[in-house]
Symmetry: C2
Subunit: 467 residues, 2 copies
């Protein structure tokens, strides 16, 4: 006998949790499609040579290699030939380069699949987790306008997920780069070191960071360090404030001015796309992936749960697939780490126990009514209602308890009396009410109940009308 268990570091859900998780995936997918993004799925296993174009680094140490006993495949240098993807960006680069001539650019793609990382087992760290990414890939250029669509998508997704008020933080890496150039920090590597230090502002506090920046390693003057710290503290409150704060930055190097103008255009378009101004702000401290992003950058935080950190991040990059093709493929994208997000929301008590995907249980008290119940179930299913039939007669109480525990909203019952009168008795478990409907109207009557409560739920959402 072997003890049944998963490996550590994976999230496996019971059915009712899985239903809640699946609804989250569905909302994300629906909104990604609403904005015109096209689905792509790639294999979880890639050729190591293709996946690991850059060697060294934390990512590589976390790569899972794959080999079968039947056909042990090794590359020339003895490393395994196959590996599991660790993100969706490298597979996207491979996909776009491989199918370049079959795709229309700008190419809007979404991808929602699991990725794999050999992390040390640790609470809240996952070795297998869903990412839900969208990217727009251009060929030989991509207008800044595409950057502005992504906050609108983020807004639509998190509005419909209804997990509370949130803020999409916008920045542009050219601003900081230009600003540092203006302060005399022109070398890219030195800039990166300074940024890494500034990134610790929240954790270490201003005094500690100032001390480091003015210390031996960096040698900035106190005045320069303070200007830097003032700069990264800029946050806006409302659209006009964002524009005013951008204007107040004045002008600087060409890079700096480009950053200002790009960020301004993004802000204007985000408003034109109908995102309410309480939903977005500029935040000049946002850096994201220092080596990767080159322009617009995004983060998203829950207003009431800042400790969760960014729940959706991304930005603009110069060249997606330089390892695979000579074509210049700039892009802009965002990613939601769905598994981690779901886990965090559960921890924070923000995930309601989902009702079952089963909407009606057709109960059975008397085995002789089974075939009639199968016919009732058939009518409900044709009417688009997810229906489970009790196939073995049980006591009423046991069936009600089952429906209650499973989160099934309606229990439909037909006894001799109901059959004679041509009606079905319905117990609404959510409201604790019981009523009868004519057998001939059963599916349509329940359909109406279900749709009404969906509509009420949508109307009750915090940003109901804004998506």
């Amino acid at each position: 006998m072997i003890k049944p268990r998963t490996m550590p570091g994976v999230m496996e859900l019971l059915p009712r949790e899985q239903i809640a998780f699946q609804r989250m995936l569905d909302v994300i997918r629906r909104n990604y499609e609403r904005f015109g993004f096209l689905p792509v799925e790639t294999p979880a296993i890639e050729l190591s040579e293709v996946l690991l174009t850059k060697t060294g680094g934390e990512t590589e140490r976390q790569v899972y290699f794959v080999q079968s006993t039947g056909a042990l495949e090794k590359a020339g240098d003895g490393t395994p030939e196959l590996a599991l993807r660790f993100d969706l960006t490298v597979p996207l680069a491979r996909f776009v380069a491989e199918h370049e001539h079959d795709l229309a650019f700008p190419f809007r793609r979404y991808q929602m699949q699991r990725v794999y990382r050999g992390e040390r087992a640790q609470r809240g760290r996952f070795r297998e987790f869903y990412q839900a990414d969208i990217d727009v890939i251009g060929k030989d250029g991509l207008s800044i306008r595409f950057d502005a669509e992504l906050p609108a998508v983020i807004h639509a997704v998190f509005t419909e997920l209804a997990i509370g008020p949130f803020t999409i933080w916008l920045n542009n890496r050219k601003l900081m780069r230009g600003f540092l150039e203006g302060l005399g920090v022109a070398d890219a590597q030195q800039q990166a070191l300074v940024l890494r230090e500034v990134d610790k502002l929240d954790k270490r506090g201003a005094d500690a960071v100032r001390a480091t920046l003015t210390g031996d390693g960096f040698g900035l003057s106190v005045e320069v360090a303070d200007r830097l710290l003032d700069f990264v503290r800029v946050r806006s409150h409302g659209h006009d404030d964002a524009l005013a704060k951008l204007a107040a930055l004045g002008s600087g190097s060409p890079t700096f001015n480009e950053g200002v103008s790009e960020l301004r255009e993004v802000l204007e378009m985000v408003r034109a796309l109908g995102v309410p101004e309480s939903g977005y702000a500029i935040n000049l401290s946002i850096a994201r992936g220092l080596d990767y992003y080159t322009g617009t950058v995004f983060e998203t935080t829950l207003n009431d749960h800042p400790q969760i950190g960014s729940i959706c991040s991304g930005g603009r990059y110069e060249d997606l697939a330089g390892n695979y093709t000579k074509s210049k493929l700039p892009g802009v994208g965002i990613s939601i780490g769905v598994t981690r997000l779901f886990w965090q929301l559960q921890e924070a008590g923000l995930i309601d126990k989902a009702e079952s995907s089963v909407q009606v249980l057709v109960g059975l008290l008397d085995a002789s009514r089974l075939h009639d119940n199968l016919q009732i179930a058939r009518e409900l299913r044709v009417g688009g209602i997810n229906t489970e039939v009790q196939l073995e007669a049980r006591k009423l109480k046991a069936q009600m308890q089952y429906a209650d525990r499973a989160g099934i909203r309606f229990v439909a019952m037909v006894g001799e009396d109901e059959a004679a009168r041509g009606v079905v008795a319905i117990k609404d478990m959510r409201r604790g009410e019981q009523f009868e409907v004519a057998r001939t109207d059963l599916a349509s009557a329940l359909r109406v109940e279900i749709e009404q409560s969906l509509a009420m739920k949508a109307a009750a959402m915090p940003h109901g009308g804004a998506a």
Copy 2:
């Protein structure tokens, strides 16, 4: 520069194909949920010790083992500690045994995920492929009635997939076992050998199989071999014929009689569930997984494409999780190999090029209208319509060509004239028609068009009303 490519033996699709594939997955999922099955997802990576409870055999040789460079984890005997699942049945057994006390039995679960097999690369053989499984797991027994629900699910799925007429073949392994007992072949191993031979009937022909069965290895008499061959040739045409052919088998050993009575009950319930009698038949040659199934067995074939073989198979088994728990967990299930099915349907020309998931392209001829177009897109999206906005002005012809190639049905255009008159010009690419709608009615008017064509499509289905 590295050549971008996938490993051999995977199916990677371009967006329009992926949309068709995704629709297939959606139909399967929707119908599984319609019948009250609950979603489960398990990690792709399992502990080898848990996954590979039985050693040896073809499956084990095809297992992909997994290890990370950072944390090379090996079990005591030196084999890798982690492996990729090769089906969804072993993970289900592990899941049910692990969460036994949190699940309600009978437990109806569906699972649609990818599985991995280190197959030799070969046309139409996949190393990574989707399976879409449903199973009902009982505890200490499971009524035969559950077996009968599965053909109803199969019927609903393939009716909605609309890939042509199909037949669900039903059999019961007790029939053949009882029949062989009656012929004096009582030993289970000898039965298996005989069945394996009989299974080659279609391939080798009756004469060759008869010759083998009456030859040295088996030593059956010609008369016994002929009775066996007559038995496995039994097929029904229509419900009454199925019952008549069952009756004509007479009675035999207790096992045989049980098989007859179970198959009869399944047939009666399948009819009561509304499956039209053209959709199912008995076929006494169906055996499926000789070592595994013990009662009801299913196969499904496309009437016009028998060469594709079974597109959905399954059956009843005695004990799901004997390796993990002392509880007796009988079950019945079916599986659709979605990747292989999609590939075969493509090869047979049965997959229409899908329309895009994008329903409307908002065209842009004049950059000054961009912000108004963003507003139009917003209204369409709020109206539930998947909308792509052209963010850069292009020639009308180029935009129409793009929509045509991408399979986007509607192109919405607003020029100065339309704006002045408060209308939007719509080109319906599918019908080649152009019309105008009032700007204020845009989303609802297109919604009506889209829903009408969905309703027409449903009405045109071969078994439209039966699901």
